[in-house]
């Protein structure tokens, strides 16, 4: 298993570069997502870039599609999501849950 894991690590740059999946962008500003609703194709793997325009860190998180990643101030991150079955999936900013809310609609 360890060897398998190492093999995965070495294959990493190619795996990341080789992907050709639909890309979407979310922007965080004033602890809110823009857009708050993101429509994506169902049953397809997608890539979401989250850009943080605030001067404080945020954590892009969804317990519905199980992703979590810290976005540093004025930084951006990318996560791969899905393929998801058709439906609605909430996401939020873990550090500002009262304002940073959004929903991913797979259809």
């Amino acid at each position: 298993m360890k060897r398998f894991f190492l093999a995965v690590l070495f294959a990493l740059p190619t795996a990341v570069l080789a992907t050709d999946v639909p890309m979407y962008t979310l922007t965080i500003k004033n602890h809110r997502y823009e857009p708050t609703t993101l429509k994506v194709p169902a049953d397809t793997q997608i890539k979401i870039t989250v850009v943080n325009k605030d001067s404080t860190p945020e954590e892009f998180e969804s317990t519905d599609f199980r992703r979590e990643k810290i976005v540093m101030p004025n930084g951006s991150i990318t996560v791969f999501v899905g393929p998801l079955k058709a439906g609605q999936y909430k996401f939020f900013g873990d550090f500002h849950q009262d304002t940073a809310q959004g929903v991913l609609i797979a259809e």
């Binding site: 990341v16 810290i70 540093m72 550090f95």
Partner: protein
């Protein structure tokens, strides 16, 4: 203040659950308080360091540094827990007998204890670094009630940990280490499954099937109980195939390890003690 308390509570709780299981599993071992305290201290220190270098970690490895870092921390914890569990399958019986006979602490297993110290440190480091980053943001944003929120969150999270600990102590000694050993096995399997999820998030592993089942109608990932069970036994309402594989591999590997190790020691001790049956039976593999 309550927003701060709530986030701190959630993160502290996640770490506290792991610390609790480790604390229970090392019951009766001399100096384990120092080891656990030391693990928490190191974890807090590590959390601050990780938070300080969060930017560098995030941009490392073409943007998947966070996932790799988390996966490595989790896999390290899995290995250490695994080692301890297998070690316990040969020493758990001894430990329980000793505790029953002497009623005091057992001077044993310093090396295995060091591993569990590391597990505690890693758990605190992972959740703690999120708290540090969050608090940094709160300070920068000029939020008030910071200290009170932090205090309430830490107190709340640790209280749940203590409650679980004293609950676990009610398990009869006869079954105690069997129970805690199994808790460690499921804990390790859940951590491995989380590690797999990070690697999928970074597209380094295939999902091998999304949402193999969906039990979120029964217990959602976002609920408090769902989160607690996620830490304790790796519960996921919508797991991917690769997560299940990682989970199963760890459970099976540890079961085999415990069985082999347990059998080897049983044979050895039987040879030593003739056919004298032990007064209590602790079988980590049962």
């Amino acid at each position: 203040m309550w927003g701060i308390a709530l986030l701190v509570f959630r993160e502290v709780l996640e770490a506290a659950l792991i610390v609790t299981v480790v604390a229970a599993a090392t019951r009766g071992v001399a100096r384990r308080g120092w080891f656990i305290g030391g693990g928490i201290g190191l974890g807090v220190l590590g959390a601050v360091l990780v938070a300080m270098f969060a930017g560098a970690i995030s941009s490392a490895a073409s943007g998947v540094g966070q996932e790799l870092f988390n996966a490595c921390v989790l896999f390290a914890a899995v290995l250490m827990i695994g080692w301890h569990v297998i070690w316990m399958s040969s020493h758990g019986r001894e430990l329980a007998q000793h505790m029953k006979a002497v009623g005091g602490a057992v001077q044993t297993g310093a090396s295995s204890l060091t591993l569990l110290l590391a597990v505690v440190a890693l758990a605190v480091l992972r959740e703690g670094s999120e708290i540090v980053l969050f608090l940094y943001g709160m300070v920068a944003g000029g939020a008030d009630g910071l200290v009170r929120g932090l205090a309430i969150g830490i107190a709340g999270g640790s209280t749940v940990g203590f409650l679980l600990y004293f609950g676990l102590l009610r398990i009869p000694l006869r079954y105690f280490f069997t129970a805690t050993n199994w808790m460690l096995v499921l804990l390790a399997a859940g951590l491995a499954s989380s590690a797999a999820r990070y690697l999928v998030q970074a597209n380094l592993l295939p999902e091998l099937g999304n949402q193999i089942w969906d039990s979120s109608w029964l217990l959602s990932n976002g609920s408090v109980l769902g989160k607690m069970l996620h830490i304790l036994i790796g519960y996921d309402a919508e797991p991917s195939g690769i997560q299940l594989i990682f989970y199963a591999v760890v459970v099976i590997a540890l079961m085999l390890g415990m069985r082999l190790m347990g059998r080897a020691t049983r044979r050895a001790s039987a040879r030593r003690a003739g056919e004298a049956a032990s007064p209590i039976e602790i079988d980590a593999t049962a």
